[in-house]
Amino acid sequence: MSLDNLYRRVILDHYRSPRNKGRVKGENVIGEGKNPSCGDDLVLSIRLEGDDLVAVGWEGEGCAICCASASMLTKAIEGKRVDEALAWAESVKALVRGEEPKEDLGEVEALAGVAKFAVRVKCATLPWVALGIALDGEGEATTE
């Protein structure tokens, strides 16, 4: 069934057992993401040392796609440099829009199934948009 494309095993797994839930110790950068149309609302909690994301956590509420995406995000970018993390965010956003990923995104590629469901794209991208804003600029992310 086409749903299995969307709710892949790895997504359900991250949803049921979220990784890195909660604020990190020594948090010095946060990224807020909101999708007011559905009430998705999350905070990325980051400890940045120099150029390195040494710890990444998240908290908030959202649908399975959004929560799994946030959970996968923390695993994917922890330990990366700011520029690497931002490049990842762009790649994931492209993936979710239905484009072929240029680099290997590991388990995050499970989000590719979202591309077929336009209305869910913003659920999947919200954490990544929040990440971009946290590292890149100011303000609050929205995928409305």
Binding site: M1, L3, L6, Y7, R16, C38, C63, A64, F117, C123
Partner: protein, 404 residues
């Protein structure tokens, strides 16, 4: 005409399938209703036979179009028990309420004036008042709802005593679905000298409105929620209200005379209808009212009540499912499910053909008070039946199980 399954042939979209061949179980009627063939044909018939711009034309097509357009106005006026000049065509309830908040509010709201709405309002009957109050320096007060989901009359009395210029409220909420005591509220408003503005977007989909029985100054409704086309609705006001309110949009048709720097306004209703209106929409709306009359005669409201009760009972019997309504909802059941996000549930249920709505349903203040971000909503109409409710409950169970 009979209700439920026997009606489905007349609503073409209900014959379609969803996903891998699932029958469509359309339970998003509070968002918009489906259209019967009569309405679809009225719209295409207009374009095939009589399409023209109305009013100023002296040729046959224009005369025909004018007659059809004004015929729709007459029909709606008759339907809600008012004179046809008291019917202003607009895009929908939202535009109607903005007209009141901006045109009437712009002239009548001032610093320190108080505007009463309820915590259960759709954003369309809240945000326009927020904007009008901000502009005027007026105060917006959100009335609480009681245990029956209806306006708390004691709170209303208290607030009216402190003085209020407007009481704007919904005759039936799109989340809680409780039919309000409209005439009671309007009478209290009137006695206190406040303008009563009724958001009838949902209520008008479920019953014939009698404006005078309600006793409101003005009400707004949307054709698309009453089986009519999109892009047409009405603001219905008393003559006194409409004649005393300045026009809102300027343009063609709403003028009596135009000089270089000023203009005289046409009498109502034209004063409020600037530019080319949605004539085909009005014609389709007229056809929808005829279908509505027939369905109500067939007992559509009992039918809908029955389905609502079945859904409410079914949901209440399930662990971890919480209804938003404390009182008795009609036509719409909103609920949330522990440990399952409405988006996921709605998406999974869609795979079984079941169309329900997930989100805040344009009622954020209400959701915030209930301590939730969003909810699921199933809403019923004449073409649904008990079987649809069963499919809905079954799909919900399977969606929950999938996410566990």
């Amino acid at each position: 005409m009979a209700l439920g399954v026997s009606l489905r042939d007349r609503f073409p979209v209900l014959s379609r399938t969803v996903g891998d061949g699932k029958r469509l179980v359309y339970l998003d009627n509070a968002a918009t209703t489906q259209k019967p063939v009569e309405v679809i044909h009225a719209v295409s018939g207009f374009y095939q036979e009589s399409n023209a711009n109305v009013h100023r034309g002296l040729h046959t097509l224009s005369e025909e179009a004018t007659t059809l357009y004004e015929g729709a106005r007459k029909s709606l006026g008759f339907w809600v028990g008012v004179d046809e000049t008291e019917v202003i065509f607009v895009r929908g309830a939202t535009e109607g309420i903005n007209l009141v908040a901006q045109a009437w509010g712009g002239e009548n709201l001032g610093r320190g004036d108080r505007v009463l709405v309820t915590v259960g309002e759709h954003h369309s009957n809240l945000v326009p008042w927020q904007m009008a109050c901000k502009r005027a320096g007026a105060d917006l007060i959100l009335l609480p709802l009681g245990e029956d989901d209806l306006i708390d009359k004691e709170a209303l009395a208290r607030e009216l005593e402190r003085g209020a210029k407007v009481v704007a409220f919904t005759a039936q909420g799109n989340v809680l679905g409780a039919p309000e005591d409209v005439s009671g509220v309007c009478q209290m408003a009137r006695t206190a000298g406040a303008l009563s503005v009724v958001d009838a977007a949902q209520a008008a989909a479920h019953r014939r409105i009698d404006r005078d029985e309600w006793g409101c100054d003005v009400l707004a409704l949307s054709g698309h929620k009453m089986m009519g086309p999109m892009g047409i609705g009405a603001l219905v006001g008393t003559k006194t209200f409409l004649e005393g309110t300045p026009p809102w949009m300027g343009g063609g048709e709403m003028i009596l005379d135009v000089r270089d720097r000023d203009a005289d306004w046409a009498p109502i209703p034209a004063k409020f209808e600037a530019g080319t209106m949605n004539v085909a929409g009005a014609v389709g709306f007229h056809a929808a009212l005829d279908v509505m009359r027939a369905l109500l005669d067939e007992g559509m409201e009992d039918h809908i009540s029955g389905m609502t009760r079945l859904a409410v009972d079914g949901l209440k019997a399930r662990d971890g499912v919480h209804l938003l309504a404390k009182g008795e909802p009609h036509g719409v059941v909103s609920f949330w499910v522990e440990a399952a996000h409405p988006h996921d549930l709605s998406h999974l249920m869609d795979q079984e053909g079941v169309a329900v709505r997930a989100g805040h349903h344009c009622a954020k203040p209400l959701h915030r008070r209930l301590g939730i971000q969003s909810s699921l909503r199933a809403s019923f109409y004449g073409y649904n039946d008990e079987d649809d409710v069963e499919v809905f409950l079954g799909a919900l169970d399977r969606a929950r199980a999938y996410l566990l």
